[in-house]
Symmetry: C2
Subunit: 322 residues, 2 copies
């Protein structure tokens, strides 16, 4: 029906169906855009918008929010194994913005750009009713180096770069203001000070072992679905990788730990599929990788063992429009 | 004083003073950012944010607004003589966005990308309280080819690619709703369907005659000041280039035509300074250029003859934060 609400995936599909040309060799559906600049070199581009009223939870400072906007962009580069070289920053600021606010934003952007070794080369400022920080990253890579979202093959092993659930639990702490955030520091820190897995992503790409990858910023379940759909395979999760702190918090607050790990979002791990022959040598090079499942023939579905039972995972997660 | 309001120029200075590294060879103050990618090649980058509540005048459709956001980005490339090759689009949309709205935005973006021969290679969507369209352009150029903002020299001749005042007059028509916009079609069209001077900008850069340039999107007066400040020269305007339709509208509504031409903003002409020896051959190649004044020794000031009297021009113009 015209005029009804629809979700982020549908918005992107509607938008991109209207664009008469897309010569990006990765298509619109990958974590980043690619622009060929010579026979063996691509410019890799990514933009990620942070909006004050929807993306800054209670307890997060403006400096932390600005830093997070960089982390979100860098995380997509990390998933493709590409170093972001430079950043542009487009800011929407309220009319009565103070020097203190601008200083805090600048400080968070500067901190993050130093953490990930990229230079802020330019930007734009504009008046807006809400704080808007649009971060643009650019890097360069050989086409052979970039791990595609659509490359997963049946038989591949699915790995992640870290455990899940702490961000959803941390957000739960921050939103239920009657709890003392200091008591759950490891949980709230994962919300307030997320980390992009840039070194691990580059190591994965350098290993040549990864066939497909995606960052998990839209949630573990949703990101697995995106990977499965793009690669036209199914994914079977053998063990949902839940952080111990998230399990403990779930017990305390009578929450479902699987829910926290699968449907949380804004967790910046990398999910990758590994060619089975290369798996063992890879685990020697990158011992921190966590095996969570396998790729199977299929049509884009994700299932998981919960206890001894195999369930379909729901294709839902972090959606700005739901 | 901390906490008081300040203007866009001060915001950018405060921001950039906090960034520990800026290796952009053009600095933060030029129309675009540059990122060296090899000894003789730069990536040229520009981001420009359009915000629904402040940048869309009454009478402008969403398709026109989306198209304009591309024009604003392309215009900065035009001023540097560089072809934008690809675009990224970061969208902030309201929660209850309809298919019709998304289609209109997509259609305006697609139209503009075809007009200027660039490909939309990627983007991001986010929820926001206001419509936000952040357009990012990328192109490539030899460092020798790019016209700097800081290159104007005393003795140079100042030229523009078109006359001024129609946009301010057109905005005046659209804002005073009791007038029939159809009656002033050439004025309102300059607001609703602006055009970036991409071919002229590339021709200027190819000629090798331009020493300095800027686009006029912040208004003729303000842009002249930016050019004069960046080049550490004064600029003397011999004749303010006002469009005939703007003069007629000013008479009709008892407005000051100089005010319309100097302080309007959102007019996408190129202002360039031309080496005097190369001026005559250049006018044969590009006869549409309009000579408006001369560059003089100085410290960044702009004056103009109004009638027989020389006046300092006020350093004001389009500022989102004033």
């Amino acid at each position: 029906m015209p005029g009804t609400r629809f979700n982020e995936r549908e918005i992107i599909q509607l938008l991109t169906s209207r664009f008469s040309s897309n010569r990006s060799p990765l298509g619109f559906e990958d974590d980043v855009a690619a622009l060929p600049i010579s026979r063996d070199r691509w410019a890799i581009l990514k933009t990620d918008m942070l909006v004050g009223s929807t993306d800054i939870p209670p307890g997060m400072s403006l400096s932390q929010a600005a830093r997070k906007s960089v982390v979100a962009t860098v995380s997509d580069f990390a998933a493709k194994g590409v170093l972001p070289k430079a950043l542009l920053v487009s800011l929407g600021l309220k009319r009565k913005v103070s020097r203190t606010i601008v200083r805090q934003i600048a400080s968070g952007l500067d901190q993050a750009s130093r953490e990930y070794g990229c230079t802020i080369v330019g930007g734009d400022t504009n008046r807006a009713n809400d704080l808007v920080i649009d971060l643009i990253g650019i890097g360069f890579a050989s086409p052979r180096h970039v791990i595609r979202r659509r490359g997963a093959k049946p038989g591949d092993i699915v790995v992640v770069t870290g455990e899940f659930g702490k961000t959803a639990a941390g957000l739960h702490v921050l939103l239920s203001r009657r709890w003392n955030p200091a008591k759950f520091r490891s949980l709230t820190r994962s919300v307030l000070h997320p980390v992009a897995r840039l070194e691990l992503g580059v190591a994965l790409a350098n290993s040549g072992a990864a066939t497909g990858s995606i960052d998990s910023s839209d949630g573990l379940a949703w990101s697995l679905y995106e990977l499965a759909r793009a690669s036209r395979v199914n994914i079977r999760i053998e063990k949902i990788p839940i952080a111990r702190d998230a399990i403990e918090y779930a017990k305390l607050r009578q929450l479902d730990p699987n829910e926290l790990a699968l449907y949380g979002g804004e967790e910046y791990e990398i999910i990758a599929t590994i060619s089975p022959k290369k798996y063992v040598p890879l685990t020697r090079k990158i011992p921190s990788l966590i095996r969570i499942g396998k790729v199977e023939r299929g049509t884009g579905l994700v299932s998981a063992f919960v206890g001894n039972d195999l369930h379909w995972i729901e294709p839902r997660g972090w959606d700005h429009f739901s």
